[in-house]
């Protein structure tokens, strides 16, 4: 029974991670591509971590809480790196499908 649950969790995690990578490969511009991997980490890795925590809590003595830490660190670092990538892209004025935000005093930098 528990094996079944674990398999479902791992498969779900794998599928979401795969879709995230697919997005990275298929989407057309830098900004939309950014969405694929940042999202896959959230739910895909989340499922894998829950499976890992369950497995080690059952098979070994005591509850395994390392996964909580992985989740926490991931949730802190993933959005920061995504934000910096997007910010750098805006700075470099990469080609974008969406019209880039209007230039103004409080919007992304004009010419250097």
């Amino acid at each position: 029974m528990i094996d079944l649950l674990l398999s479902i969790l791992i498969l779900t995690g794998a599928i979401f991670t795969f879709i995230g990578s697919l997005g990275l490969a298929r989407l057309q511009d830098f900004y939309t591509r950014l969405h694929g991997p940042t999202k896959a980490t959230t739910l895909g890795v989340g499922c894998l971590l829950i499976a890992s925590a369950l497995y080690f809590s059952i098979r070994e003595e005591g509850i395994s809480l390392h996964e909580v830490l992985v989740t926490l660190f991931l949730f802190i670092t993933a959005p920061v790196s995504a934000h910096l990538l997007a910010k750098a892209a805006l700075h470099l004025k990469l080609k974008s499908l969406a019209p880039p935000p209007a230039q103004g005093s409080d919007t992304p930098p004009g010419t250097h």
């Binding site: 997005g23 969405h35 926490l72 995504a82 974008s96 969406a98």
Partner: protein, 164 residues
């Protein structure tokens, strides 16, 4: 008090983090964790200019629940969008005017936006009053801005800044 214990909340968090890292609960590690939690804030005090105050712990829990729910819901949406094909996406940059003022609350809002699928925070204006967000597929930009403000910003303001 502030001299001896500059960031009580950070101290507790670090102590718990330490216990999670060693993955065991013994008296020695509790003491070591507490010691680390007490010393590290001194070394990093430059990064935490403001005192952190959580005014509404219950609201914080509710915020976390909404946040987790949105991650799951949004992941399915983004997965569907990617599978449906990249040509039908309507990406856009939207501007979210901020009412949040503290650095911590703004970073938490930006992190939340980036973690909930379909949106990535891309730019914070220099006066910290506008957050530019890139969205993967937008039907109604104004509605999305309203949703972000009501769903995430309002509770964050309540939790960290109180309602002035």
């Amino acid at each position: 008090m502030r001299r001896l214990l500059p960031h009580p909340l950070l101290t507790v968090t670090l102590a718990i983090l330490w216990l999670l890292l060693v993955n065991q609960l013994s008296a020695g590690h509790v003491v070591l964790g507490a010691l680390l939690g007490w010393l590290i804030p001194f070394a990093t005090s430059d990064f935490w200019p403001e005192q952190i105050r959580i005014r509404h712990p219950l609201a914080l829990l509710r915020y976390l629940a909404v946040f987790l729910y949105d991650i799951v819901r949004g992941s399915f949406q983004v997965a569907a969008l990617i599978l449906r094909g990249p040509t039908r996406l309507r990406p856009a940059f939207i501007q979210v005017p901020l009412v949040l003022r503290t650095d911590l609350a703004i970073s938490l809002l930006a992190n939340t936006i980036s973690l909930t699928p379909g949106t990535v925070s891309a730019w914070l204006s220099e006066d910290r009053r506008t957050l530019i967000v890139h969205t993967l597929d937008t039907g109604d930009a104004a509605a999305l801005v309203t949703e972000i403000k009501q769903r995430y910003e309002a509770p964050l303001k309540q939790i960290f800044e109180g309602s002035e």
